[in-house]
């Protein structure tokens, strides 16, 4: 497909660029509205991903629909890029049954709460598809802190050894709650870990959606063509609290946060597209409006659901439940 702005992103058409922009705005809108909904008591504790949109939208834009996404809680809303309804994700944060989607419906795995524990799943899925002759790629998201976990190590190493088509996307926001990157590693960069697995590792600006996409695109192509896994480190600096329950003032560099907010990724891409004449103020307003409508409809749909049936405690635990399951 021809691109009108090869200088921006070789291989991406204007339509692609606008869709990428729309996804970023959708994620941004989801996040900002969620913080409000939390304050209003309409959702529970919520893990804020403000200014992580370039990573999430950029990396996943390199995937096909048959490829799988393995999110952590930080990427809770990543299903939006696949068309998952906002209410589904809102219901997860509301602790409601319909928030627990069927991964096979979206090729988006369940939200992984235990840090790094989903990396071996991505490896197993990608390996298993490959063994069955399907050419799906798996993309797993995790943070800088996650790279300290044994299951990060085991999951990436398995993928390397098995030649599994996995793209490991590290969201290096330089904080694990209150723990700075300097307390997680002495490595020059987290991408340096790749050489220990004999796989390619790259570092990109996590606020530059096109840079993230380009790196992801290359990694996905490599994986698909049998080249095995890639580790992509997306560097930025967490500009929001870890979650709604967290008060970062005790530990974070507030000046740095101000700089980051000034340079936030959605506005940055928006300016780029406007300068390139791909995006107009009108179109931007329309996109924003559409995303707010999605959220308004989403929260309304979520809140209109009937209360969950306690019977659900038992419905899904086993295909073939033991006789004493209900005995508590």
């Amino acid at each position: 497909m021809a691109t009108a702005h090869p200088e921006l992103a070789p291989g991406l058409t204007d339509a692609d660029l606008l869709e990428l922009y729309r996804r970023m705005v959708l994620l941004r809108t989801y996040d900002e509205r969620s913080v409000v909904y939390h304050r209003q008591g309409r959702i529970g504790t919520y893990a804020i991903f403000w200014n992580h949109e370039a990573i999430q939208a950029g990396a996943t834009f390199a995937l096909g629909d048959d490829d799988w996404i393995f999110p952590s809680y930080r990427e809770s809303a990543i299903g939006l890029v696949r068309g998952m309804p906002a209410e589904t994700i809102l219901q997860w944060w509301r602790g409601q049954p319909s928030g627990w989607w069927n991964p096979a419906d979206w090729n988006v795995a369940s939200i992984a709460v235990p840090i790094a524990s989903h990396l071996p799943h991505a490896t197993g899925l990608a390996w298993g598809k490959k063994l069955k002759g399907e050419d799906a790629v798996a993309m797993a998201f995790f943070g800088d802190g996650a790279t300290s976990e044994g299951e990060f190590h085991e999951g990436v190493n398995f993928a390397a050894v098995l030649g599994a088509p996995v793209v490991f996307v590290c969201n290096n926001n330089q904080w694990a709650i209150s723990t700075p990157l300097s307390a997680q590693t002495r490595a020059q960069s987290l991408a340096d870990k790749a050489s220990g697995y004999g796989i390619p590792g790259v570092t990109v600006d996590g606020l530059d959606v096109l840079a993230v996409h380009a790196a992801a695109h290359e990694a996905v192509e490599r994986a698909r063509s049998g080249g095995g896994p890639t580790l992509i480190e997306c560097v930025h600096y967490r500009a929001a609290p870890h979650a709604t329950a967290d008060d970062p003032r005790a530990y974070i560099d507030l000046e740095r946060v101000e700089q980051e907010r000034a340079n936030e990724c959605v506005g940055r891409f928006e300016r780029l597209l406007k300068d390139a004449g791909v995006l107009t103020d009108e179109l931007a307003a329309e996109v924003k409006q559409a995303c707010e409508d999605v959220m308004r409809a989403g929260i309304a749909a979520a809140e209109s659901e009937p209360p969950a049936d306690p019977e659900l405690l038992f419905t899904h635990a086993y295909v073939d439940p033991p006789g004493n399951m209900r005995h508590g």
Partner: protein
């Protein structure tokens, strides 16, 4: 005496014990700069320095494994696991080393590790912030387990754990971290491991419980017109068999309550103890009110999973 919440009492115990013994140090995720996600370790880093309240990398096996080595170097590490379900990556270290290393050295080295963690459900949290993992710990030889239900015991049991020469795991009921308030002795305060507490004396039925289930049992007792004796175990290993058996001998009826899944939950051990040593005292079946053998649910229905005063009360009624 000061009136503190349960989590404030934990913090008080840590300040007191670090001040008392220079070999005591705290390590874990976010225990330093942030003072813990529940503020249990607040103020320790400023007061005792970053070497005695350490923000570790995000790796639970690394945390507990380093603690084993710290003991070999003469430290008394107090490890925080940020949440119940996030302690599981450290189970290999717990089972293969923490519980065995002293035995392995012919009793010539000591491993006075304290592992403390918030545990339990009912807090309207996302998945895996709700587990009651005591079975995994108390089944492991070499490990002691304590679970407070009051601020005073939270301080006293944690102090006892830190001073104990063996590895001790202290489960703190996060559901009542801030709602359980009470008088807490100032300065040094130790509640010996292995002594149950009669939370309420009674004559007709014995309710055996611990942690966040103690207030549930109290609410059930309030709703019942039979006289309930509520035994707050406080410590699962060592276990105060005498207090349990004395109460059962008196009442002849028993209901055991815990949040953890039923199958080989600690209630099974209590029922087995009674079935062995108090069988002829019993006037009815030994009943358990527990979590179910299913995954802990999303929070919209967690109240149906957690033992409630109603479930406890109806179990008691069924005995009369």
């Amino acid at each position: 005496m000061a009136e503190l919440t349960l989590v404030e009492a934990v913090n008080d115990a840590l300040h007191t014990e670090l001040a008392r013994d220079d070999d005591v140090m705290v390590l874990g995720e976010d225990v330093g700069r942030a003072g813990g996600v529940f503020r249990a370790t607040a103020g320790l880093r400023d007061r005792f320095g970053e070497n005695r309240c350490v923000d570790t990398p995000l790796a639970e096996a690394g945390i507990l494994g380093s603690a084993v080595g710290l003991c070999m170097a003469g430290w008394r590490p107090v490890v925080e696991m940020q949440y119940d379900a996030f302690s599981y990556p450290s189970l290999n270290q717990l089972i293969t080393h923490v519980g065995r290393y002293r035995w392995r050295t012919g009793g010539r080295m000591e491993f006075p590790i304290t592992i403390r963690m918030p545990y339990g459900g009912g807090v309207r949290a996302p998945e895996l912030h709700d587990d009651s993992p005591e079975t995994y710990y108390v089944h492991t030889p070499g490990i002691k387990v304590a679970i407070p239900s009051t601020p005073a015991d939270a301080k006293g049991l944690l102090a006892a754990a830190i001073r104990d020469p063996d590895p001790v795991v202290v489960f703190e009921p996060k559901l009542v971290y801030r709602t359980a308030r009470g008088e807490v002795p100032e300065g040094e305060h130790v509640v010996p491991l292995g002594q149950a507490r009669i939370a309420r004396a009674g004559t007709d039925v014995t309710l055996l419980c611990y942690g966040a289930m103690v207030p549930v049992c109290e609410a059930a007792a309030d709703a019942l017109d039979v006289s309930c004796e509520i035994v707050d175990l406080r410590s699962l290993r060592p276990l105060d068999e005498e207090t349990i058996l004395t109460s059962v001998a008196k009442t002849g009826r028993v209901v055991i309550v815990h949040e953890a899944p039923r199958t080989v939950g600690f209630g099974a051990e209590l029922a087995a103890l009674i079935a062995e040593k108090a069988i002829f005292d019993l006037q009815g079946p030994v009943l358990r009110v527990t979590g179910f053998d299913v995954p802990y649910p999303y929070w919209s229905i967690e109240d149906a999973y957690m033992p409630s005063a109603e479930r406890v009360a109806s179990a008691v009624r069924s005995l009369f």
